[in-house]
Amino acid sequence: MKISGSRLLDLDQEQCYRALQDPSVLERCMPGCRSLVRVGEDTYAMKMKMALASISGLFDGKVRIADRNFPHSFRLLVEGSGRIGFLKGDGLLQLTPENGGTSVGYEGEVRVGGTISAVGQRLMDTTSKMMIKRFFDKLAESLTPPQQ
């Protein structure tokens, strides 16, 4: 399944680039991420609990950052597998300055297999969009100091 979109963040391009690759930021913002541990150059082991109301599942996986082109673009590869199936995401993130902030464009592909794919097909499109939205919401929230 192809995924694409963009999101405007209230940070300059370089800050944004660093934040998106900061494991502690990713750990906080990736929906369901329970832990992210560095296991190698640009590679992190991840434990996550995907939870969507009644639907939930534990996944063990990996996050990898590749094709760095500071501060313009990089590739984020996520994969996880658990009892209810597996998921694999491969996306190119492109950062461009816009209106004093940064527009983060993403384009990539998500592959899902196992039970979630066989019985949850009709929810896949909606839920992947929702997960991405949650990620950016969390990111925006965690990067913007609360207004007084």
Partner: protein, 778 residues
């Protein structure tokens, strides 16, 4: 002497009597595989691959094995000494990959069995499946057959990088000449999508090992108990006479239970290993993943004709999506299509090329119609395309090209011989019944109002009543044993293995008439290899035509013996048997069948050169297939705004030869039509572009519900088959074969004035809406 046989005069053949199977089925007392409970029963559950293609790097069964209640976990290495899942077809270039019961170092489709867990409770077995850790390294996969044929596509089996599973070529006449002489050539790419057979009872097996006499009893939801026994004995390396296979009540099959599945043999293997009875029943999700799919054709048609509509030649290229492994009859599906490519038409020149293609999907194999629906869909669509091209009425075009009644038996260019028929007459009957010319007027009026009304016609000819034996790897005969018990009651054992067809009823009707006894004095049994003589089974619309004939011939043989005994008891050399009574033609003295039967078993004396007992077995080998035919007409209306299709009328006029029980024949037609209509409008097995099965439950695979099927009107003509003494042909698959082109033709007809010539199935509202949009209609 007391007798239980009453004199019977009423003939039952041709009567709509209600089924003898039903009392157990309507009271919940029938026994399906899942209902079998044996002391000490254990439960097996299968771990399946979530990947379409991956190397197995390791399997950790430790946690599962230690789970309380789990007795064993088996993986590929535990069964690599066992035989492969068999393919029974031979073709010159057939490539058969070794199909292990469990994956070895690679998986080849989503759902591929990787391990099996065994526990003393089904809930624990389900838990333990989740505890088996399999490490996969996914590799590239290919799921569309045409992509698999492209250079550089991932190889499903490394040894055959072109992904070609087999090729087949067949031709008759002179195709080049036909195309050279043609005024018009129409071409179309026609897809028959993958379908899930979807018997309501999921597959299942119970196996029980007796270590004392080293014998195995296997209950399986199968259409072919005897063949299953031979195959399973081979896979397990067990002497065949130590294996008893029982097909208990079977909840539908439609071809999908005409296999040896890996799980069936695994269940048996486990029962032998652990020395306890083992039950394994598929879930519906597993059923979608790991029961064979039907169809899976991409066909390229070219039809050559004269301006006046005379059809000259037909060229077809068939691409069959095989899946990753062959099952029992997989390669025969497209070759069966080839036999019926000409339909009911007098083509002299036909040319067919088949390529079977490996893909990373579950195997395809026989599903109701098996190869014939694809062929019929193709030719009946092409006739419509030609009619549109020539501006001819499709009824007229068909009638012009039908094989005429005077030409039977008719040898087709595909090398088969149509047994009997009157094709023009059945289409005429359908056209009259439905009021065709008036419907065309209504259609004109509808179009004036901006409504999209369509009239779809499909005629079909079907090859069924399988054998004869050269056509089948199993033998194409069928068997029957008839035994008159000492009390005069009749036991019939048939080698067919019905699972919803109602053969206990039709065979009782046949036996009652042939023997002249009351139907209540007849019991028909089947499906147990230790009590029933060897048999072939139920598929290819063969029960009545082949099994019923074996029954008739066994009874006829028995009647001679009855008369021999009658002659002895009546002390006459001139007796005749009829209606349950043997009569001396000189004195008029009589003796009943009951008295004869008792004497035959208990003596004290027997006729000279005659063995005790009234029992006869017949194995009947048919000399030819039978060829039922028919004409179905559908009236539909398309919602211009949304593309939804409403079927307003469905008329099925079929000729299945002599009818034994019209109630059951109608039932077969209705059920068949619903399945063909399901293919036309709703059903499709979908693998996404990463090889994942995304129609994995009834939430996404649309099996027709009552409100999605129209009222089905039926009518008949009756042209006896000369192939068998009953004159019957077969009706199990007819409806399915006719329905998909009839429905699609009606919808294409509704849109024809917008320039639409063909739509691939299923006709989803979205697909149709898009066509309406593109048609630029006002």
């Amino acid at each position: 002497m007391e007798t239980t046989v009453t004199k019977k005069t009423e003939r039952l053949i041709g009567k709509p009597i209600r089924r003898r199977e039903d009392p157990r089925l309507i009271t919940g007392t029938a026994t399906y595989v899942e209902d079998i409970e044996l002391p000490g029963m254990h439960y097996a559950a299968v771990v399946r691959s979530p990947h379409p293609a991956a190397d197995i790097k390791g399997i950790d069964t430790g946690a599962a094995e230690q789970h309380p209640g789990v007795v064993a976990v088996y993986t590929g290495k535990d069964i690599d000494h066992l035989g492969a899942v068999p393919c029974g077809i031979s073709l010159p270039d057939l490539r058969i990959p070794h199909h292990h019961l469990l994956a070895q170092d690679r998986v080849y489709y989503v759902g591929h069995p990787v391990a099996v867990v065994v526990a003393n409770d089904r809930y624990i077995a389900a838990d333990a499946v989740d505890l088996v850790e399999v490490e996969y390294e996914p590799t590239d996969s290919v799921s569309e057959p045409e992509e698999a044929l492209e250079a550089g596509a991932p190889a499903v089996h490394a040894e055959w990088p072109d992904n070609v599973a087999f090729t087949h070529h067949q031709e008759g006449g002179d195709i080049e000449k036909a195309f050279a002489e043609a005024d018009v050539i129409v071409k179309e790419r026609i897809v028959s999508q993958r379908l899930a057979p979807s018997a309501m009872e999921p597959r299942g097996t119970v196996a029980s090992w007796n270590s004392g006499d080293e014998s195995l009893t296997v209950y399986s939801s199968t259409q072919i108990p005897h063949i299953l026994r031979t195959l399973m004995a081979g896979v397990l390396g067990l002497p065949e006479h130590k294996l008893r296979v029982i097909a208990p009540e079977v909840g539908g099959g439609f071809g999908s239970k005409c296999e040896l599945y890996p799980e069936e043999a695994l269940t048996a293997f486990i029962a032998m290993k652990i020395g306890k009875p083992v039950k394994w029943v598929l879930t519906r999700r597993d059923e979608f993943l790991a029961t064979i799919h039907g169809r899976g054709h991409i066909d390229y048609y070219e039809l050559a004709a004269k301006k006046d509509g005379t059809m000259l030649g037909l060229k077809v290229k068939i691409i069959q999506d095989v899946g990753s492994f062959h099952m029992l009859l997989t390669p025969a599906m497209p070759t069966l299509s080839v036999l019926m490519l000409p339909g009911l038409y007098r083509f002299k020149n036909v040319h067919a090329d088949v390529v079977g293609v490996f893909t990373h999907r579950m195997a395809t194999d026989l599903y109701r119609g098996a190869g014939r629906p694809e062929a019929t869909h193709g030719i009946e669509r092409m006739v419509e395309v030609l009619a549109a091209e020539l501006g001819m009425d499709p009824v007229e075009l068909r009638t012009k090209n039908f094989v005429p009644p005077s030409d039977f038996p008719y040898d087709t260019p595909m090398g088969v011989s149509y047994d009997s028929g009157n094709y023009a007459a059945i289409l005429e009957k359908a056209v009259q019944t439905v009021g065709y010319s008036q419907l065309r007027e209504e259609q004109q009026e509808a179009r004036r109002q901006g409504r999209l009304m369509g009239i779809g016609i499909a005629t079909y000819g079907e090859i069924c009543a399988f054998g004869p034996s050269p056509a089948l790897p199993t033998g194409g005969w069928e068997s029957a044993t008839v035994k008159i018990e000492p009390s005069g009651q009749v036991t019939v054992m048939t080698g067919v293995s019905p699972h919803g067809q109602g053969s206990q009823t039709t065979f009782s009707q046949i036996a009652a008439d042939e023997l002249g006894v009351d139907i209540d004095d007849i019991v028909v049994t089947h499906g147990d290899t230790s009590t029933v003589q060897h048999g072939v089974g139920t598929f290819g619309s063969r029960n009545t035509a082949v099994g019923g004939t074996a029954l008739v011939l066994a009874i006829r043989e028995l009647k001679e013996k009855i008369e021999t005994y009658g002659a002895m008891l009546l002390e006459s050399d001139d007796v005749s048997y009829a209606a349950g009574v043997c009569t001396c033609n000189k004195t008029g003295k009589t003796v009943t069948l009951g008295e004869i039967a008792m004497t035959s078993w208990t003596g004290p004396t027997y006729p000279a050169n005659t063995q005790p007992g009234l029992v006869a077995t017949n194995y009947w080998e048919p000399p030819n297939f039978a060829f039922p035919f028919g004409a179905h007409i559908v009236v539909s209306e398309v919602d211009r705004d949304t593309g939804e299709v409403a079927i307003q009328r469905y008329l099925a006029v079929d000729d299945c030869g002599k009818v034994i029980n019209p109630l059951l024949v109608d039932g077969q037609v209705h059920g068949g039509v619903a399945q063909g209509l399901g293919q036309a409008l709703y059903e499709q097995v979908v693998y996404d572009d990463t090889g994942q099965l995304v129609t994995g439950e009834y939430m996404d695979y649309a099996l027709p519900k009552a409100a999605m099927v129209p009222t089905i009107e039926t009518d008949r003509t009756e042209t006896p088959s000369p192939v068998n003494p009953l004159g019957v042909k077969g009706v199990g698959e007819a409806g399915t074969i006719a329905a998909s082109p009839a429905v699609v033709n009606s919808v294409v007809d509704a849109l024809s004035h917008l320039g639409v010539r063909h739509i691939d199935m299923p006709l989803t509202p979205e697909k149709i809406w898009k066509l309406v949009q593109q048609g630029g209609s006002a």
